[in-house]
Symmetry: C2
Subunit: 155 residues, 2 copies
DNA sequence: GTGCTTGCAAATTCTTTGCACCATC
DNA sequence: GATGGTGCAAAGAATTTGCAAGCAC
């Protein structure tokens, strides 16, 4: 086929490939930019749980001029609009707890407060030992995510 | 009673109060210092999940000359010897994950790697809704802590 | 054109490290 | 008295912010 036809088809493919993200942006009321489009594709395609630096390195291959600050700003934007999630809700600073009785955590997604709840309050089957895949499970830590009484009252 | 007798009794009380920590140190093979003693008491008495800064502020009331570096060094020492625990095993850096299907995490306590495991692999009763205490539970996030296959092989 | 977004650099926050002095065993 | 711990100050890592110029709608 001629060069003209090729590029015409390419533009259609491109449009189809970016449609998912364009729709997401429309739904969440955020503007579409080239950086965000590439960031989104990178995040979707990266296995595991990439750190901002890893995402930055990946996106830089396609947009060499992008800055780490833009990556951070947009990752936070994606979190806020719910397109992606943070792995741990209470990172940010080291937190200490007594190594005594087993308990789990109630993490408020609004004010980030953490309170404890007793192991028995759940009564979950604690399946320790080797899991399929060879992982040796020693301990379970459950975060219950939601809104604390105070933050519910506020809204 | 006379001042003499008072101070004698005081010294006994003091010795009894510090005995728990002295035993712990002996068990774990770490040296007893005044700073560590005070740090230990502070951590034990603090409710919730204090940050290093909060612990520092607290301990400074009793040892004004203490430095934040010492607090950090000893908190890490306490983690290593198992006297206290970190609340979140994968803090340290922001991590992104797709907000798609429900899954939980296998966190290796040796190499800190995180891998995913499907929701169904657990089949846990997801009790969402209002918990006793007024917390509105929306989502559960389970970290299975242990050692990955690779780290087991190494030891 | 207006307002949100980007990239840069500087500022902030959190944590670790090197080193001289001091305490514990 | 040797070994390891402390405090200080400086370095390092992770993240955020302010701002001028550029892009999306």
């Amino acid at each position: 086929m001629t060069g003209n036809k090729y590029y015409y088809l390419l533009s259609i493919v491109n449009r189809l490939e970016t449609q998912e993200f364009r729709d997401l942006c429309a739904t969440h009321g955020i503007t579409v930019t080239h950086q965000r489009q590439v960031l989104f594709e990178a995040l979707k395609s990266m296995p595991g749980h990439p750190s901002p630096e890893e995402v930055y390195a990946r996106v830089k291959r396609r947009i060499p001029s992008i800055s780490l600050a833009t990556v951070y700003k947009n990752i936070h934007l994606f979190f806020k609009s719910g397109i992606f999630r943070e792995v741990s809700l209470h990172h940010g600073s080291l937190r200490v707890e007594l190594n005594s009785r087993s308990h789990h955590h109630l993490v408020c997604t609004v004010c980030k407060s953490i309170s404890d709840i007793d192991e028995e309050a759940f009564g979950l089957p604690q399946r320790t030992g080797i899991l399929p895949g060879g992982f040796l499970a020693e301990r379970f830590s459950i975060d219950v995510l939601g809104r604390c009484a105070a933050c519910q009252a506020k809204s």
